[in-house]
Amino acid sequence: MTAFATRLGAAVAAPFALLARAIDLPLRGWQRLTGMGGMAAVFLAPNLAIFGVFVLIPLALNFAYSMTGGTDILLPDRPFVGADQYARLLDCADYSRAVTCREDAFWTAARNTAVFVVFQVSLMVAVSMITALILNRKIAGRGFFRAVFFFPVLLSPVVVGLIWRWILQRQGLLNLIVVNLGFDPQVWLNDRLYAFAAAVGVSTWAHMGFYTLILLAGLQAIPRDLYEAAEMDGTKPGRVFRRITLPLLGPNLAVVLVLALIRSVQIFDEAYVLTGGGPGTSTLFLTQYIYETGFASLLRNPGLAAAASILMAGVLVVLTLAQLALSRRAERR
């Protein structure tokens, strides 16, 4: 059986071995010519090609779209308008009052997104960290709870939005509980504060399992002997957390922060299904603004939508770089 398996493995591997031998010679020649740096370029080339086709070229096209006007969809049909779309987006009499801006919906969406990011990322990191710390302890049913917390990550964001909408609507589950407790029912999603809180809470609930997993992996990588030494020294749990857990979890925490931040700025699907951007424009976020401007309207404006997405990408890049720089500085300390 083992001999058969070996022969089968060799047969399956034969074409690949043949291919490897065929490219071995040219690769050796290339390495002699360009050194190790050249080899790295060769191995990175396929990924770079995919990245170029699916990320860089669309990014360049998006930028090109942002310099055009009209409602035509194809780029060659669209007139060049230079930076007009950016000027329109940034045209504001008073930046603290969105209604004084030419594209007030953009500024409202930008402000909402900024507030959302602050609350959602803070809540996400805090909840994920607490959950990871609990799940890292030897508690009964640990495997079950790890699965339970990760389960919402597997759900489609649209399903998440719908489930919570059914819970929060006038005749929803939450009001059933509220009424049974003797209180008046509320139209939760009609209240600006509750609707915004619901958007923050639901998106945290939906994604925290993923970040918990990253932090849990980091916690499990921390050597146990450090905790044992701290225990022998009689160090208080809070100090252990500050002096051992937090510093050693730094790289994982940085990853969580960057990913949560990017995801938070891009908030769309579950919030759109849950609140539709309302009440009024209190949960209108940038991605919804871009989607509605570029696609949902009959008189669509792809140029304006592209310009808004370029501005959003610019802010994201700056935030990510700043966050990475801060984490590196913290690591060096």
Binding site: G69, G70, T71, D72, I73, L74, D77, P79, V81, V99, D104, A105, Q169, R170, Q171, V187, L189, N190, R192, A195, T275, G276, G277, G278, P279, G280, T281, S282, T283, L284, Q288, Y289, E292, F295, A296, S297, L298, L299, R300, N301, G303, L304
Partner: protein, 422 residues
């Protein structure tokens, strides 16, 4: 050897024959109710009569028609035929003029003539397709709730105020969350605005600034929302042009009065069943009239098709009086076909509430004001609808006052027109 080659050639020809002889026509279709199943049944019969044409009905979500079809069309791609609603006029440049391919173009002009401008460019005499149904906005009342509350339903000629007042009494008596609901779209709310005397079009056909009559109804609507008479979930709890229907609120008997349109008849019949009695009541009146807004979905041929003759054959079949009669009777749609409208239809429904509801909409169609009648064929109606729903919702949510909203509505419309004309 020659014999073998001969047989092989014959076999190859046999294999290739059906593929070569049969042309495939693809239809992009969306369904609100049972019309997809009815259409498939009709197409199956067409294929029996025309084995040389294979018709594939690609049923997609309405959003696909709204968001993906325009991109396909802009790339010179797309299905051979598509069922379209809002974009009939805005995407008119992509439709095929079937006139040269039709068996009897005069039949199309005679029967679909009043509606062809909705789907062709201004000034054109093309025949791009035909409307699968005529729709008209209008109201529905929960008769059972009115009876239980002991409130008399307003009769013919009743105004919006009459309906809201009566519905408010029902709401209070039956302890309902609201008196009425209107679908969250500028299209639906424009009907009462026209009844109040609003004019959207300037003399040159461009959008006019929103007038006092439209703002007067907007003020009433905002007031009714503030007073808790209009169900806030539909309009307040969404932003921008997000569409929200209040159908579920009506079918769950949360509101006694619901303003939507004729396309809901089959849906209401199916959803409500015998849970309560309901009636269609046409459009309540304002000072200028009691108008609804006509509209409808159209089946249009796409000009990028490779087989216009086959497409025309399919369209000739589907637009024929006999087939369209069956389609309308089984789907409970009001036909946009002059001959059928004159001859009348025998709607196939076991629900006794359906025929009177359809009759009410047919009767209501005689009260359509010219401004409302012009909307389906007016290029800038989407700009107007979008601006109205966006800004009035903000007023309802307390983000703007009506005075602040008015210039913003005009600016939004002007921006959209300017962008479209670049």
């Amino acid at each position: 050897m020659t014999r073998i080659a001969f047989h092989a050639l014959g076999f190859a020809a046999l294999l290739a024959a059906p593929a070569a002889a049969q042309e495939q026509v693809r239809i992009m279709w969306y369904s609100d109710g049972n019309e997809g199943a009815v259409m498939q049944d009709l197409l199956d019969r067409f294929e029996e009569e025309h084995p040389e044409i294979d018709v594939v009905l690609d049923t997609v979500a309405y959003q696909v028609v709204q968001e993906q079809l325009p991109i396909q069309l802009a790339s010179g791609e797309g299905p051979d035929i598509a069922r379209v609603t809002n974009a009939l006029k805005t995407d008119a440049e992509h439709w095929l003029d079937l006139r040269p391919y039709l068996n009897d173009a005069a039949y199309w002009d005679d029967n679909f003539g009043p509606y062809l401008d909705w789907m062709r460019e201004d000034g054109s005499d093309a025949i791009p397709g035909f409307p699968t149904q005529l729709t008209l906005t209008g109201g529905f009342a929960n008769k059972t709730l009115f009876e239980q509350a002991g409130v008399e339903m307003p009769g013919e000629g009743a105004t919006w105020d009459d309906w809201i007042e009566a519905s408010a009494q029902v709401m209070q008596d039956q302890q309902l969350p609201a008196a009425f609901a209107i679908d969250r779209t500028g299209h639906r709310v424009s009907a009462p605005m026209f009844s109040y005397g609003a004019i959207y079009r300037a003399e040159d056909g461009s959008p006019a600034p929103i007038d006092d009559n439209a703002m007067r109804f907007a003020e009433e609507l905002v007031g009714w929302t503030d007073e808790g008479l209009m169900l806030p979930e539909v309009w307040v709890s969404a932003s921008g042009t997000t569409y929200r229907a209040a159908t579920e609120d009506f079918t769950n008997a949360l509101v006694p009065f619901y303003y939507s349109g004729s396309w809901q008849v089959a849906n209401l019949s199916q959803q409500i069943g015998d849970a309560f009695d309901w009636v269609a009541v046409g459009s309540p009146c304002g000072e200028a009239g009691c108008t609804g807004i006509p509209g409808g979905a159209g089946l249009v041929a796409v000009k990028y098709t490779d087989q216009p003759e086959a497409v025309a054959t399919v369209m000739d079949y589907l637009a024929s009086e006999e087939v369209l009669r069956e389609f309308s009777e089984r789907t409970l749609f009001i036909p946009a076909h002059v001959g059928l409208a004159e001859a009348g239809l025998d709607y196939q429904s076991e629900d006794s509430q359906v025929p009177p509801a359809l009759d009410a909409f047919v009767a209501s169609s005689s009260q359509i004001l010219p401004e409302a009648a012009a909307m389906p064929g007016w290029l800038w109606s989407p700009a107007y609808y979008g601006a109205i729903v966006t800004r009035i919702s903000q007023v309802m949510a307390g983000e703007l006052t009506l005075e602040e909203a008015r210039p913003l509505i005009d600016r939004d419309i002007a921006d959209q027109v300017a962008a479209a004309q670049q």
